[in-house]
Amino acid sequence: MSAAASPEALLRRFEPVVRSTKGDKFFPMDVEPYVRACSLWVQRPGEEAICVAPRGKLDLDRLAQQPLDEVGAVHFLKFTDPRDLAPPGSRIRVFGRRAARGLKESREAFRAGRGRLARVGYFSRFVDALYSITLLARGRVPGEAAAAASVSYERIMAEEGARYRYHGRVTRQDGWVVLQYWLFYPFNDWRSGFFGANDHEADWEKIIVYLSESETTGEVRPEWVAYAAHNYTGDNLRRRWDDPEVEKVGEHPVIYVGAGSHASYYAPGEYLTELNLPLPRTLARAANAVRSFWKERMGQYAGEDEEGPGYLHIPFVDYARGDGLSIGAGGDREWDPPRLMLDPPPRWVSGYRGLWGLYARDPFEGEDAPAGPMYNRDKSVNRAWYDPVGWAGLDKVSPPDEALDAALARHADLEARCAALRTEISEKSRRLKRLGVEVAAMRGRSHLDAPYEEGARHLAELSGELDRLRARLATDEAVSRSLEEYAGRLRAGERDPARAHISRAHRPASEAELRVSRVAEAWAAASVSLMLISFVAIAIFEREHLISMLVLSIALFAFVEAGFRGRLVNLVSSVNIGLAVVAALILLYEFFWPLVVTAVLGVGLYVLWDNLRELGR
């Protein structure tokens, strides 16, 4: 099939197979029935939200008009209204019972499995508990919303017929034919259904397949694929089509969807996903400075945290087991024909810049619904929309047919630069020699002191410049040779390693991690509460030794926890450093002047020893 084929045909040829997790209740659907089931609201700054289009009066055309738009206004859809569940005896009460039953069924279908708590760590569980408590104060999607959304979704599926649809877009960028599959889920119930970080109405996820196109025949060939997971971008999202990690059914890539979160993964399993909460700027700067001093000035080991100390990491488990409903080629359900979003994009895509579900006013934005495929929550244009190639880090990679030409062109550039450098070096080398002779001729002549000094300065400058030019030439020649060899390999049909671009791939938990013992899991479940109870007991019964007992109990809990999680080395190291800092301060306080005198004597003796050593040579 060539790129001249219809966009729909291209999309359908490579459409993904979506494998969800048992217990997941929401699947990719068309936006039209969803929008019809929603009401449209506007939240203007400092005012109560007002409904501008009630449920039943809204459609995709009306949505695109985005009425009452003004500075600071936030437009959002409301898919469910859990307050409707409250009145007793009403039909809505029956609706509520159905919702509760649906949620129970979902929970029965899904089992978190052993080791979930033990895998996320003691400190994280504690922060997680605090984070959950803050949800009460922060804006959040009400607890009943997931159940209500589930019932609304089932009603839509019953009325429309069970339809599973994606939204497709085909674009061309940097020599690539880009197939974008936008999956719309009516609800994200990661927190309420699967122990995750957040719940929100509406969820937009995307899968991108990158095709190369033969210049001669126009045939297209899949080269790369990128699955979106949370807000990650860049090289690590991307896999080469022939990477064994990319599972395929015929030409259809298989996606394992995270339960509730709908993040997409290449392999089935349970993934540890970190929610990175940024520390306040001052604190982050201080933490960075301390880490830098500790590592670089003190030569101390500072761990392998790639994100640096500016973030508080709260890990959650994303369950992408692939044991639930499967949609697509060879699956339980087939895709319906896609809704196309070809350029120019439909008005509902480009015209509506608001949120696709409830605006919960969450300062961390985790509980707010996302914006549409084209926009971010702040109404800026989404990179995955305007730069789908750069979004997955493919902007530095040439399509295979162009790679050889690119390598040869770069080689020619470098050769031209080397030639220019050689000419410049030759000319400057000649000039340097003449200047050297001139300076030598002036040496020791008192009446030529000033021109001699000027000449010597020029000589040093020119010599330095020549040195830099020669170094640059040597590097360029090495790169040029390397490019020549690389072009030769490309000519022979050789390709780069499929995973050379990946620095940190998401990997599901290993069998060993999943086999965390029952004792460890029990400890993980009870430890936070036990520690708080022990604090209270110490405060009541051991007031005389309050500080010592608190320190001892924290040390004991931390030690046991670190033992279970195999982090004993890190714990001991951190505690030791803390104790060493306190002890050093005490020594400084007790022996300030003796320490100063010792330091001065030490420096004096070192200088003496160094000088004597020099004399002895």
């Binding site: 080395v569 030791n576 306190v582």
Partner: protein
Amino acid sequence: MAGPGNISYRPVRAIGLLLAFQVVCLAGLGVHEFLQVDWREIDPQRVVLDASSSRQVIEAVALALFVPPAVITLMSALGFLLLRRKGWLLAAISQGVSLGLCLWLYTQVQPWYVYPIMAYCILMILYLNSHDVRVVFHAQWRAPPQQPGSSA
């Protein structure tokens, strides 16, 4: 010179010797403190002692608290000298416990010997945690990540 895959055991031996030296010093300190007290003056029937004797006795007895960390230190020192690199954790625990004891004693009776022990422990902790030393142990604790397709 130790290159990649050719790990230098020099820091391991050096730590072993320093730990052994620490145990010897602690033992010497114990003997010295023990000899300072005139044990004949202490009558088990009479609990009351004069202030200076009482302090000497407490300081000497408090040194007994360092016996468990000294034993762990000795074990880790032997481990290091026999090139068993897993002794790092034992050594780190012994230094942490010793330092914790020193800090606790400092808040209670402030015996003179806590200061040299503190200073020695600080230096040992910094050395044990230095990048060069940790790298030696890291090589064993963390196997390089497996690339897909490579054999285990």
